[in-house]
Amino acid sequence: MNTLLDRFTDDLLPGNDHWPAATEIEVGAAMQHLASTDSEQKSLFYRLLDFLENHKERPALAEILEAKDSELFGFAKVLAFEAYYIHPKVREVVASRSMYANRSPQPAGFPVVTRRVIPWNEDEILWRSDGTERSNEVLIEQKKDPKKTWTVEEIRQWRR
């Protein structure tokens, strides 16, 4: 793959003891593949390659691109991150470094760990009257018994 693109992606996503560097999982090639599905993305991708070629003597390619063309940088960063974070190896690392399971959201879903909390105010009626008689009537009745179970038939009566 293009060594300039490799340099650029490793600037963005360098590896460490736990995480692979972008080049280790061939992020550049994956970026090219992702960009190939759309003509606008394809032309931006070629613009990126041109930019890198024109600045190949410079050491920090990502930094230069960000400073000189923030829009193109934004595009390249999203594409590189996309290629990186959907890679199976990276997904494995994400799972091993967090409580996330290494699988897609469906079909199994994720258990939602939760706790029950009761709202502090269950009784003080807080909504504001709109100035109509109906508002005032309903407010009075709701204040009398905030926990009353209402039926659709009762609610239907509110219509003008």
């Binding site: 909504w127 709109d130 109906r134 709701q142 009353k148 659709v152």
Partner: protein, 533 residues
Amino acid sequence: MTALHDEVNVLVVGAGAAGAAFTWRLASMGVAVTCLEQGEWQSPESSLTSLENWESKRLRERSPNPNIRRNAADYPILDDTSIIKPAIFNGVGGSTILWSAHTPRFRPSDFRVKSLDGVGADWPISYWDLAEYYEINDEIMGTSGSHGDPGNPPRTPRTTPPVPLGLAGSRIADALNDLKWHWWPSDGNILTLDRGSRKACNGCGPCEMGCATGARASVDITYWPEALALGAELRTGATVRRVLVDTTGRATGVEWTDHAGQERVTHAIVVVMACNGVGTPRILLNSVSKEHPRGLGNSSDQLGRNLMLHPIPVVTGVFDEDVQSWSGNDAFALLIQEFYENDESRDFKRGYEMQVTRGQGPLVTALGGFSHDIPWGLGHHEAFEKYFGHVATVAVTCEDLPHPNNRVTIDPSVTDRCGVPAARMSYELEENSKKMIKHGVKSATALLVKAGARETHAKPFAPSAGFHLMGTARMGSNPKESFVNQACRSHDVPNLLVIDGSVFASAGAVNPTPTLQAVALRAADLLREDALV
């Protein structure tokens, strides 16, 4: 090409949230009704959340922004003149295919903002006119929640218990109890127990990609199957180009293109627009004639104006605890309306609601999620580990006031696949919104800190959150200041109805869909009562 002609009774354009509710209601009263929808049916698998690279799909073919997604049914919406970008879906189910299904209702005061607080415009109807329809809609969509919220008028017991708060939600609920800020478990069209073929939510997270289990309602799995069983007709791949009128000023039907590119004309007794707050003004503005030179029914010049989007500032809190923020439905668990009503001691009019969002996977987190920034380069992985699973975001839905220059227009220099001009959104933040945003960010930050967030990050508004599209053909009693009357009927063209969020005279500070569906159900009843069909 010669157009093919046919004739129907009631013709609805758009098979989204409003169009589905309206069609079902009329069909259930035995009225013949036909709906034209430019998109196609979606299958549950189309949510793409079972794929390994699901997050990549979220940035592409499942993006809520039609200009990025560019599916065959999408029409261009030029948005360089809007700081908030459009988020919609075009297909059977409309934008409910991608919605998060948070379904709070307007409060009674939302319908009378001018009379009560001296801003915006009053609706010609009240909460009490819609209450029954909210109930009907809740039942059909299937609503989880807990009745008895003292912050709102009474409602019936909900279909299933509320969605779980999750770890971050429980912390935030504790904080709200400490602060004595009013909150309540949210209503949402997400089932927490099985109901028929729809399964209970399994907490997978990205509801905005579509729901594979059917737990989250979308109108293609709720209203539409029932409407079709009642005899309603739905034609897909049917792109409406314009509404036709005769010399007496009555609508006679629509001109449309089918999926094979064949031009067609369908004549109807009543034409009903349900293409959403952008799609509806687009088609009506494109329907110019000698009698309607500014767009159909637009003698008031209100068509397309008063676009309200709800600016949504977001504040993300980072917790030491892994709160597993990738699990649970993405957009709600608790409804916070402490700052909802007008308060003269504040420097802005009206108010806002706060909701807690979650459900972000690794890629979205790495890209900065809602409002934090993760550096690229050497510090990237360390920052990622600090944020991933450890964040909760409070989204502040601010009431938007109507402004004539915030608007939808059409731009013939760009067209869709059938040659219909693109819509253009022009939208800027108003002074009132800017002040409200400041207040909202402060409240959300204080809440997250109270909940134990170690750090917070704020954005003044989410630029991609253009999903609440309201006001562009508003309802009113005065034909000079509004587009439709209280029955959703055009002031100028008596057999033309608009039934989607375009008719909102005010925006409230809550997600609009249950309200626009209640409006649509009521409009169907009124049409029938008036024996127009």
